[in-house]
């Protein structure tokens, strides 16, 4: 069962990776051949995270494993981390984001009917919810970062 899962994850990650590399090429002019090693590293990190999530019987999200493994393999103290950083720097973050939101747009079409039913009051309050957390966090971060002398 795990093997079948790994196969499905790998195929989907490769498809997603190819689409991102094309976007990476079109907008950021990084030819796919120089970005492929970095993409392979990222795909392996994801697979490692999914597998850990699958075999470790605690409720810890796979995305958290993935981020932690990504940090671990690129820390200055990790042997070979320069290569990981060098290769993955050829894959632009925003080139990964564009296909995510393209798939998201196609998927949220199904929520559109619910969205249309929301009244104007909801739209006002929901906008303030997002604005409130964003400004609140930025203000606190600003104060603490200034007190620490980081900015």
């Amino acid at each position: 069962m795990l093997l079948k899962n790994i196969q499905e994850w790998t195929l989907l990650l490769v498809i997603f990776g190819i689409i991102s590399l094309v976007g990476n090429w079109v907008n950021y002019e990084i030819v796919p051949t120089s970005a492929i090693p970095g993409m392979i590293v990222l795909i392996l990190v994801c697979l490692a995270g999914f597998i850990l999530n699958h075999i470790i019987p605690i409720n810890f999200p796979s995305v958290a494993y993935i981020a932690l493994i990504g940090v671990a393999v690129s820390m200055p103290w990790m042997p070979g981390s320069e290569k990981v950083v060098e290769w993955t720097s050829e894959v632009q973050l925003l080139a990964l984001a564009t296909p995510i939101l393209a798939y998201a747009g196609i998927s949220i079409g199904r929520s559109w009917a619910d969205f249309r039913k929301l009244g104007w009051k909801t739209l006002v309050v929901a906008s303030l919810v997002l604005l409130g957390t964003f400004i609140g966090s930025a203000l606190i971060a600003e104060i603490v970062l200034r007190m620490q002398g980081i900015i």
Partner: protein, 267 residues
């Protein structure tokens, strides 16, 4: 990915070909920016991609099957994105540790949503729905919390679902637009906004930090590292902040504010 994996989604070539085409078109258009007063509005390819995807859903090009199959691809894309964020955080780990106090404390900034949105919700005449709406940014863990505590068909449950739907459909666009605008408009440092971008939603964090990067390209790695670290922190601590601080605070403020108004109407 959660416990159940669906198989064979890679075979949906129609879906992947459409997304590839959308990516090529939107990345070829590139980023646009224009000034609104002293601030800058940034339009990034990912925002066009979201809107084109949504429009395509209503054309015969996308069938119900493609829309359903797109969902796991979002999860995988976010996984790749987090791997990328991980390898950006890694080399800047010493910086992140140095900024640890700010990162931890700004998590409490999420309470700003209560202070800003709850009074307006009550002023607009919204009843107990306001508690579900304003106690948090209403991502999946918070929807679960409210459903668990008040029940699915309760007013609080309807409130949290309304904000959840808004965030799902419009959150990334909204965060992308206000992040770039506020960071160029206000005197606050871009890195403070970078930390604020991590509100516990991958797509909103990406849209917000993406427009910060487009506005301040020389700070790119630091912005992404801080936003990513903050988002991880929000994912792991957010629910506890909600349970122990945000939700009790919202309840309390709701009682105080509606109580005072009731007294006034009696007078």
């Amino acid at each position: 990915m959660n416990t159940e994996t669906q198989f064979g989604i890679w075979k949906d070539w129609r879906l992947h070909a459409i997304v590839l085409l959308v990516v090529v078109i939107t990345e070829a258009i590139g980023t646009f920016q224009f000034s609104v007063g002293p601030g800058v509005i940034l339009l990034l390819p990912m925002l066009y991609a979201l809107i084109i995807g949504l429009v395509l859903y209503f054309t015969p090009v996308i069938k119900e099957k493609q829309s359903k199959n797109a969902e796991p691809l979002i999860v995988l894309g976010v996984a790749l994105l987090l791997a990328k964020i991980g390898v950006i955080i890694g080399p800047s780990l010493p910086d992140i540790i140095a900024a640890g106090p700010a990162l931890l404390l700004q998590e409490l900034g999420n309470l700003g949503t209560i202070l800003l949105a709850l009074p307006v919700a009550i002023w607009l005449g919204i009843k107990r729905e306001a508690i579900g709406m304003t106690h948090s940014v209403a991502r999946e863990p918070n929807v679960g919390l409210i459903m668990d505590k008040y029940g699915i068909s309760s007013p609080e449950g309807r409130g949290v679902m309304a904000v959840y739907i808004f965030g799902t459909v419009f959150g990334a666009v909204f965060m992308g637009l206000i992040a770039g605008f506020l960071a160029t408009l206000t005197p606050l440092h871009p890195l403070s906004f970078a930390m604020a971008s991590g509100i516990g939603s991958g797509s909103m964090m990406t849209a917000a930090s993406g427009s910060l990067v487009a506005a301040f390209p020389n700070l790119e790695d630091q912005i992404i590292a801080f936003a990513g670290a903050s988002n991880l922190l929000s994912l792991s601590t957010g629910l506890y902040v909600s349970i122990f601080i945000a939700l009790p605070l919202t309840e309390k403020l709701y009682k105080v504010m509606t109580g005072r108004r009731d007294q006034k109407s009696v007078e």
